[in-house]
Subunit: 571 residues, 2 copies
Amino acid sequence: MSTHCVIIGGVALGPKVASRLKRCAPETKVTLLDRDRLISYGGCGIPYFVGGDVQDVTELRKTMYHMERNEEFFKKVKHFDVLTGKEVVSINRRDKYVTYRDVDTGVEKDLSYDTLVLATGTTPVLPPLPGTDLSNVFTVANLHHAQAIKEQLTQGAIESAVIVGGGAIGLEMAESFADLWGVETTVVEMLDQALPQAIGPDMAGLVQKQLEDNEVRFLAGTKVTEVIGDPENRVKGVKTTAGEIPCQAVIFSVGVRPNTSLAAEAGLSIGANHGIVVNARLRTSDPYIYAGGDCIEQRHLISGESLVMPLGSLANRQGRVIANNIAGGNDQFKGVIGNFCVKLFDIGVARAGLTVRQAEEAGFDPEYALVVQPDRAHFYPTSAIMYLKLIADKKTRQVLGVEALGPNGDAVKARVDAIAAVLPYKIDCQDISNLEVCYSPPYASAMDIVNVAGNVLQNILDGLNQPIFPQELADTFPGSGAVVLDVRHPDQARFGVEKYKEQWLNIPLEEIPDRMEEVPRDKPVHVYCNTGTRSYEVQRYLNAKGWDRVSGVQGSYAVLKNIAPDLDERE
Amino acid sequence: MSTHCVIIGGVALGPKVASRLKRCAPETKVTLLDRDRLISYGGCGIPYFVGGDVQDVTELRKTMYHMERNEEFFKKVKHFDVLTGKEVVSINRRDKYVTYRDVDTGVEKDLSYDTLVLATGTTPVLPPLPGTDLSNVFTVANLHHAQAIKEQLTQGAIESAVIVGGGAIGLEMAESFADLWGVETTVVEMLDQALPQAIGPDMAGLVQKQLEDNEVRFLAGTKVTEVIGDPENRVKGVKTTAGEIPCQAVIFSVGVRPNTSLAAEAGLSIGANHGIVVNARLRTSDPYIYAGGDCIEQRHLISGESLVMPLGSLANRQGRVIANNIAGGNDQFKGVIGNFCVKLFDIGVARAGLTVRQAEEAGFDPEYALVVQPDRAHFYPTSAIMYLKLIADKKTRQVLGVEALGPNGDAVKARVDAIAAVLPYKIDCQDISNLEVCYSPPYASAMDIVNVAGNVLQNILDGLNQPIFPQELADTFPGSGAVVLDVRHPDQARFGVEKYKEQWLNIPLEEIPDRMEEVPRDKPVHVYCNTGTRSYEVQRYLNAKGWDRVSGVQGSYAVLKNIAPDLDERE
């Protein structure tokens, strides 16, 4: 007997459920409804369409074999029915039917289901501020918005723009505005750093430097209070807690809210984070209704917390799980680790697990290592500096999170994905020290940055490595009265020695054994080099010789030049 | 009380043990001996020195902060003693001392130890053939060999060369000869494929195509029987089972043998693969002697077998474990997964775990998926095709291995490292379907190739996907009488239709529902497209409509164009 599966929502999860279900259980009739006419698109590609990497918006709707994913495609190739321009207005769970309205005619119809799938996605948040109804105030939610934004850019109507929200979408949009179109772009972020949900403040400092280097202004700790318009109701600026910024366009990218009103009105469980509650089989509180993708609450496998995590990749994986379950299987989606990556101008940023702040909030007592090292053999011509932060719980040594960035984004992703893969297994730092990753000089060092990070973090937890983190040095030096022991070549140390006199002591690494008596014993000594490697070496040596107030500056110059360039202006 | 640790061997593991030990237990006296004068080098960098990516051989001996790692460096910076040019000739375990001989003077001395570390490495195998003593017959073992080879190239003395052995080092050397120096290069491999220890024959076919495209001749299944010389005892060619090849240089890279004679003579356990036997703490059968790196037998975490795996990355990780144990800890090295990668001209190749053949030998019953997909969002400008093979046991569905290749080697490594990281946890294909990897269009597809491979392999094991692998098609078609159902655009199908007539049926994907009656029911039908994705779609649809002799060509044109270009010469 044929059953009928109705799916509400046609961007990522919906079409995946439908396609998979027709391959597993071809006798099932499948109908997908969406209120939009344009469905099944790569929403994450919007910044690349706006920024010109993708010429035609239709590219975001095509398969890799270049067929446009429209109603006809789904009928002829995937063998299910798609009704676009149909908004579902209610779910009758008792009699198992939905009522939908044609968005053009307003005519309402009922459609019976045996199983229902909610793939309703999210809506971008538009804060309740004066002026958000002006023209040229945008969110980045769908292809219509994308086209409207690009049209304005193409016409040269935007000379300067304000992006509200320094998360991934905001920063990607900032790049697309500034890079191709030369728009004077300012990002305004309420919190004190870029990518606040994704990475810690030290890594964010490197990201913000990258934005500045590419002429994107980044205002942290700043609130937009009003969007102001001209007499023709077009944006002419925003008021912020840091003053007024003139602009011809404003993009709000301050987060999204799961679309759950249908689910809530039908009496399904909604979670504390406003997402639909599902079990590991991705079933809602109604056994005939599944939900997945951006509109649900997901379980974080490290923190145990629930959260909404809107990502097309998760939606696609979950679509298969739902289809398998509707087809009669028992397929489970265990939860998320929070893998995330973003390209920003010339660097790639990736992370997984928890940041230090998130770890604290989840009840852990986090410690971390900050490692700076070439992303492949340092003698290989394309090698470039990578930054990697590894976070673990002090007591259990369970690894909680990783953050990395560098010019080769694929290489950054390689490190984060490898560590992320083992995070669900509640591994120890030592497992990272010995994590087997592919080695060959064109792609890695013999001691890969992943393994080094595991080693450094163990050394810190064991008390061998006495760290001072760069931000702390920047905040306290030279006022603290501590001495920086710079073990680089005198040419590199010259700036510090001249600026800070006896507070910046230069003894090159190889001269330490002969000159160690110059190092003060009665004040804090911060050993400093290019990336932190030599600092650790010297810190251990001085410890062995009886110095007990010595710490090593983690990441040293490679980090400080980005987050506190005044401290040591080597170049 | 200070103890004395003596280390024999100074390339990778030895200096790592010594440096770490001095940081953990600075009161320990450490002496490292090596018979060579040039120590502590990145041996894996030799092909890049020969090929010109690395200009000066000293680069391979420098730290990333550009200090040369010589005796003085280790004394001043790492605080231990290095004796070069000293060959250890015997170990007296009862009285705990070694006897070493000065390689120049022949004078012998004794040196007492409390703990001894064997880091004796390997020696390249030179097969017992006539002519291997001629000049310009090389192995690739140390910096002296590297310099000798490069000197010949620089002088223009080599117009053509034969590389014996198609493993990683052989192929890297082939690239370095052919690419920079324009040497006419032939690789002679006894087994039937390139990289026989690393990847399966299908992936090797893609590698061999890459070699051919770059004018390196690859002779599989061919034995060298003699190296022939001119009257001045210089190489002038090799005799092989496939005929004589004139050349001015021969490089043997047919494998290595662990250097274990010292250990064996001292009565330590030697394993079946001729490596020193150690426990998880990397201790030999003598509690005062540790060993690690290339000279030991390692435990494979999937097969349970012992093997010798010479890799600088493993040596470095093991060096830390040994140092920690000597310093009084209990640190363990659990075993290896067999991660491996190599750059060959314009592609990167990576793998981990077991190949199909190795899995069979280890008692598994392997099945596999071969997936072809862009390495990032297909609409992103830098996307390129990646090939990925995922192998699992049919019964338990335990994932056993992964192989991948593509033009962006960092992206290839990212996939293999992520899967490799979870292999020790005896995971199931479904864990790969849901493996969380970072997603953003510049770096991945929403359905990443990793997840797709998990899905395809599950589909095969579930009997949903009925595969025919490209090599089988190439071996049997058109003689088998089967029909290829080409679901691509008619322009792409033209060659097959014209060449094979009614045995090559072209029905574009979207016309299948209307034209399916043209598909024969009474013979095998192989559905064919560009990468295999559409083939699966159509195979499932035809199955649902009652066709039961339909299989999908895995990887389709994207693989066949490389391994059997005559079959479908689209371009």
